[in-house]
Point group: C2
Chain length 223, copies 2
């Protein structure tokens, strides 16, 4: 294991009010000039690949850290760390989402004050993570083309809480019945101001546009 990766166990905090903990984290991160992005998606949509593609393009501009959450295993944090980025694996031990208290533990473990940008990969799940404010300044989600264009109808809360949706695996459109216009219409119905980017972590298509957007958002937050 490389020395820029570490595993921590995180537990649900059932005593504190999550909204209060999240608001306090957001204030602390604003003070520290650290932009925290909460990245949510289904299992296998490409969260870790997106993290790797994004950090590769922004690591000259910013000090970047990554928090990886999973029920079990630390393969994602190891993948990220192998690219030279500092990563913490947060093991939830069966828990289906992150709450603000868990994220606070992750931020303490990585030393959030040392970073301009922290990408937080939530548990792979389109349901529960949408219900909990993590303290991040930006909620982003990834929907991969093979999952289908009807997901905004079925998981409306997730699409309504995210400011930006990345449509990943866009290079595989021809192999799946994915109607891009129908998908966007579904997203806009629950979230009219949502920004969408078409990306492919495999081909690199569209990543630059997303990264340019994220760079501006990070600079604006940390100014």
């Amino acid at each position: 294991m490389s020395d820029n990766v570490r595993l921590i166990e995180v537990k649900e905090n059932i005593l504190d009010d999550n909204e209060k903990v999240a608001a306090a984290l957001r204030a602390r991160l604003k003070e520290e000039k650290t932009f925290l992005v909460n990245l949510m998606a289904s299992p296998g949509a490409g969260k870790t690949s997106t993290v790797i593609q994004t950090t590769a393009r922004l690591k000259e501009a910013f000090n970047i850290g990554v928090l990886e959450a999973d029920i079990d295993s630390m393969v994602d944090a190891e993948k990220v760390a192998a690219t030279g980025i500092t990563a913490i694996q947060m093991r939830t031990g069966g828990f289906c989402h992150l709450d603000a208290s868990m994220v606070g533990d992750g931020l303490d473990a990585i030393g959030s004050q040392d970073f301009d940008l922290i990408l937080l990969e939530n548990v792979g799940n389109l349901v529960c993570p949408a219900e909990f404010d993590t303290g991040s300044a930006l909620n982003a989600m990834i929907l991969s083309v093979p999952e289908g264009d009807d997901k905004p109808l079925k998981y409306p809360l997730m699409f309504s809480v995210c400011e930006v949706v990345l449509i990943n695996k866009i290079d595989t459109c021809e192999h799946f019945d994915f109607d891009r216009a129908r998908f966007e219409e579904g997203v806009k119905k629950v979230n009219p101001s949502c920004t969408l980017f078409d990306i492919s972590c495999r081909t690199g298509e569209g990543i630059d546009a997303w990264v340019a957007w994220l760079k501006e958002r990070t600079k604006a937050h940390n100014a």
Copy 2:
């Protein structure tokens, strides 16, 4: 809306012991000679397509009913009903999994005693549904090739509670880095007796083998 489809709202039962409710349902279904299959998967793995492919091949042999669970929308039940199969859409209103009490409501709504085989499509989620016994006689899951071969490492409980895993979208292997042997190794590590079938709901590949297996299991349960 066709007359073989109906929407019901289901609510969590926080008063009863889920294990007891599930055991009672299982006994009732055994008595009724109704084989209940709990089908779990990530969003977009192909649950509804698998239901449609399966019922198309078994509707001559059995009276089949379908229970579709979703956070919102009734598109899945309508898709199934359009093929002539009786379907109930169970709307969980934001809830991330089914418990046995919700399934009991679905079985009452469809009239379980009239069916030999009922396919229950759980909420699209690899985490929470694995934790709740639904009263089914068989837990089955679908993993689609685009999700990746590392999922047993990350969602071990789901793979450990399922007797059978269908690897869907097998026709798209060449477009994704999916190592079939590595995936099977991961499954067998958490669940050595698990049965795997490679299928494609798009091409029809492998469906017959899965259906033949399910037919035998249904007959054995209802004998």
